[in-house]
Subunit: 122 residues, 4 copies
């Protein structure tokens, strides 16, 4: 897997974002165990402290729970995950609206274009 961090924002936030995506999509199943800090740090080529910080962030959001002796686990709370999905979706949709509004399209035009795309295209 390619862990690339090159967009200028803090690496720990980029890590968070990627992990959130995997949780939201189910790639990291509810209740499953996350990689140990050191493993992920090695795999991603970053400092373990950076991973620690990312995990802490996710913990604060209630998306992962730390079990002192056995590692960290994705929350089993389906509601939490559903909320996360909603938040991420909202973010992507909002970003799209922002861009298209910047091009001068109205919300109505945007919605029409999205419908068009979604029904006709792959």
């Amino acid at each position: 897997m390619g862990w690339n961090f090159n967009d200028g924002s803090p690496i720990y936030l980029q890590l968070c974002a990627v992990i959130k995506g995997k949780i939201a999509s189910g790639e990291y199943a509810p209740g499953s165990k996350l990689q140990p800090v050191r493993d992920l740090a090695l795999e991603a080529g970053v400092n373990p402290n950076t991973v620690q910080r990312a995990y802490a962030e996710l913990e604060r959001d209630g998306l992962v729970n730390a079990e002192r002796t056995s590692g960290r686990f994705v929350t089993a709370d389906a509601e939490k995950i559903k909320q996360l999905r909603g938040a991420l979706s909202s973010g992507f949709i909002g970003e799209m609206f922002k861009q298209l509004q910047g091009l001068g399209l109205t919300n109505e035009e945007i919605i029409a274009a999205v419908q068009n795309w979604g029904y006709s295209d792959k």
Copy 2:
């Protein structure tokens, strides 16, 4: 204007993208003069050759025309600009679909979410 280049992709392509956006949105009006290569290079803090390359790319796309001694100008061809808007819109929309499909949403759910977002507005 903030010219930030920090996302890992080639600078000349990022320059292209930004300028395309400005042309598509009308911020750079059809037929108007673009900044001279050296000026933009100075302003963006990059080498003039890099700007040259970006402009050359846009010229190949037919979005700008170089007039040997007087500078470069945004195309006055409204059709070209319309096509550009379409292409950019499509790109943003497609990106959103890709992200949301990655989260496990169907196209129908995506469209519904977009409608929701667009009508309640941000």
Copy 3:
């Protein structure tokens, strides 16, 4: 091989033209590997960037494909090469017509002269 650049037009375009000729004639077979940028630069006595630019031009035309780590290859698309042959032929023929029309010959006279030349052979 003699790489001479002395006709006033940009070197990278002359490079393009020569290489196109070799591709069209089959001297560079479809799918075969092109010389690495640095090799050709050395052989032709020009800067590697100039060769790079020529190759990029050919790539944009779809005549060569770059494989990141293993080099550039002539397209294996026979149709592309056939089109190239057509374009080059057309160019040479058009040039001849232009010259002979400039001498005051009609198209009919030109065609007759060409037939004459072609059958008696040189």
Copy 4:
């Protein structure tokens, strides 16, 4: 008029070629007076000796005659001019055949292509 000399061959030969073209096409009418050496040298931005040499070459070919006191004149011999036209035409046609043969076309294919071009195209 743009007198450009940048193809690597001796300038006096390039001058000859251009002047021959003008004589053959009738732009320089039979019997008409040629520009004085110094005028042409000035206009073309070359050394008068170079023009002198070009004129001498044309004189040797019998295409211009020097009248010691009044200047040089295009030959009035229609046959000479006709021959010149033939020679130039032959040269252009031969060049085209060479190029297209180099692309792998047979003489028959070349003739067919020329007919095609001459009848259909502009």
